[in-house]
Amino acid sequence: MRKGLALLAAMLVLVAACGSAAPAGGQTTTAPAGPTKGGDLVVVTGHEPQTLDHHLATGVYDGYMSFTLSNGLVRTKPDGTIEPALAERWEIPDPMTYIFHLRKGVTFHDGTKVDAAAVKFNFDRLFDPATKSSRAQPRLGALKNVTVIDDSTVKVTTKFPFGPFLGSLAIEPIAVIESPDAMKKAGVADYGTRPVGSGAFIFQEWVQGDRVVFKANDKYWGGRPNIDTLTFKIVKDPSTRLSLLQTGAAHFAVELNPPDFINLQSSKEIQTTAAPFDNTLFIEMSNIQAPFDNPLVRQAVCYAIDKEAIRKTVLQGLAKDGYGILPTTTWAKNTEAERYSYNEAKAKDLLNRAGLPNGFTTTFWHPTGRYSGDAQVAQAVQGYLRKVGIQAELKTGDLTSWASAMRGTAPDKPGAPMYMRGWGVSGDPDSQIYVLYHSKNWGLAGNYARYKNTKVDDLLEKARLETTQEARKNLYKEAEAQITKDAAACTLYDNVRLLAYTKKLHDVRIGPLEYQFFETAWLDR
């Protein structure tokens, strides 16, 4: 009836009237004089941390939060080199001993001191079976003992000479140092919801499913951050993240869809960055399952794929061209690595020689939404394989399905015959190449492809025992060359993270990990 219609019309008019202000124009930022203080920064991400207990970190974004509120003894610069954090300097008197000298006068957010006892407590708790940290052994298993020398000196020993050790301490969220007092008071069950660290930002609250909020630490040893509060809003939908950025409700958005990213590149208000992150994307094949147990077949697959074209068209030039197995962001990258160039004829020829002139059928597992454009890249790869006679049936699912499909059920029981996977360098190249290609890591431990070459095993082990970067770099070069020759996997490209943020935001520290750091960031006011 008329009243109802009138009411409806009135409501619509009201809504329109609220929004009659013209959309905020893009003000070009005049050259800023220097960091302005104050402001509440909002970052939108697609994942929620599972826990804020640094020792129990497992998921993609758990480390992100831990690094925001805490520090480790050391940390990495964007270029991958290691710099002091809670330890202001250190010595390595022998390959199995590290002596760290802690910064003086640093306190945790609850006022307790950051001293050698605190460091020892953290590592003891990490390896305590009652804590049940899944990362402790695989990532820091080389650690033997932590001893307090005096209030500000700690001695850490390893079970064997382990080149990657310092890098692990820099990268691993499990290696950050948090307040023993807080951990004791909360107990293992509760600490994950109220962590206390010594970092630039103090944890305020975690509203499950919605946001994690931090506020600036006035007493931060690196200088008080410029912004007042930092909020990570959890928004699963990438288009919604984009909308929030466009309306100004968020200042920084992580992981956008490639087409949205491309559109934003011409925006006057928003800055886009395809940040390289220490991650190479591979097509891996099960080395112990026919027909992929024949190296000729694997090489054929590598020749069949036009990586260049995929990078340029599917990803619109957004991914970086890699060199080889190790991504371009690590110090051990090999700029002269041999690679498989696109050669359809050669691929067909190799298949002939392998006794498969008519190709074969197989299954190809890929993730969707884990890496930018992953599903489209998989389709492109399927297309290329079809041209040489390989019929690959595509399979996809969520993260857990994909993970379990790749791993298989036991070291000698592989999973999918062919799959897409990215793997990164966490602080040290060993964390990628050793995990992926050493034969004792078959299965869940990381070598999903079940690759085995004793020569490579030797080289990788030697590289762990060496402590000079130069020597290790050469060993990795040799290992990489052999792995490539064996075509254990085909590298596609170096992954990037598609980030976008308002041009009013400055000095965000991006990379090399999957995270971004806001200690030095500031907003135009």
């Binding site: 959309p23 509203v207 909308s243 969520d398 431990a445």
Partner: protein, 307 residues
């Protein structure tokens, strides 16, 4: 009446039991298990085995179900595998948000749908009628995951009238409620229209008009009142749709409700969470329908079932 109520309660119990069983089995059909998610990239095989044993995942499925069901009957929904907190805690935290969204959507759907339906029925085949029925058809056809981003684009990004996503004050509720509600309003409008046309053609309506009653009175007091039964039915049935739509809307609008929780828990294969939240979800739906069933008795004195 009492035996009717009793009968309905038994049906309710059976539905819940059946739902719990179905949920329990189907979530385990998904490849991977909670441990696969927890260890994410790398772990030692011993750790994995220990964790599986600890979570009771190595026992036969039937045993696991029995244990879980036993606990449920003692009002214990277990603990989330992800953070070891009680499932009930998580649900209690997020449930009100979803209910707010569902009720708001229901309000939108009912008000818009009923109003449009009544108006259409009073002037059948007029321009208004044709237009609103077309809109109703579109509303039924258009999916929530399309309408949502469109609304965000128009009202948030272009007009800056409303926030794009998140929660907070009432302004955050408007777009999600409209998105879910309007889709359902279409169906309610059509149902209302046909129910009204039916009653408006009845003899008693003609009598009421002959008596000289004002048209508004005739339409609302007599025709509408009698058309209520089918309308209420459809609104009740729409609850399920609205709750489902709320889940989708929660993802799009980053509305921190139980729907988002369910989606997350499925990704993580957090079995206790999935089972617990879906059970609560199903119970809500079942209870609402149960209440509506009882409401029939109130609305129409003819429907007082005897044994």
């Amino acid at each position: 009446m009492r035996s009717y109520v009793l009968g309905r309660v038994l049906v309710l119990a059976a539905v819940l039991f059946g739902t719990s069983a179905v949920v329990f089995w189907t979530v385990r059909l998904l490849p991977g298990d909670p441990v696969d998610y927890l260890v994410a990239e790398v772990a030692t095989p011993e750790f994995v085995q220990n964790l599986r044993a600890e979570l009771g995942l190595d026992r036969p499925v039937l045993v696991q179900y029995g244990v879980w069901l036993g606990n449920v009957l003692q009002a214990d929904l277990g603990r989330s595998i992800t953070d070891r907190k009680p499932v009930i805690r998580h649900i209690a935290d997020r449930y009100p948000q979803t209910m707010t969204l569902t009720l708001a959507s229901m309000l939108v759907a009912t008000l818009v749908g009923v109003a449009a339906g009544i108006l259409s029925a009073t002037k059948p085949y007029s321009w208004f009628d044709n237009a609103s029925m077309l809109a109703a058809l579109l509303g039924v056809a258009v999916p929530v995951f399309w309408l949502g981003p469109i609304f965000i684009l128009i009202f948030a990004v272009q007009l800056r009238a409303l926030p794009a996503a998140g929660s907070g004050g009432v302004e955050y509720l408007v777009l999600p409620a409209l998105t879910v509600g309007l889709a359902s309003a279409g169906l309610i409008a059509r149902m209302t229209r046909s129910a009204m046309l039916e009653t408006l053609s009845q003899d008693y309506v003609r009598t009421a008009r002959a008596k000289g009653l004002r048209e508004r009175f005739v339409v609302l007091r007599h025709a509408f009142r009698n058309a209520l039964l089918p309308i209420v039915t459809i609104v009740a049935l729409q609850t399920g749709f609205l709750m489902g739509g709320a889940v989708i809307a929660e993802v799009i609008f980053a509305w921190p409700g139980i729907g988002l929780l369910i989606v997350e828990s499925i990704y993580r294969r957090d079995y206790p969470m999935v089972q617990g939240t879906l059970l609560v979800f199903a119970a809500t739906f079942a209870f609402i329908n149960f209440a509506i069933d009882l409401l029939y008795g109130v609305l129409d004195p003819r429907i007082r079932y005897s044994a």
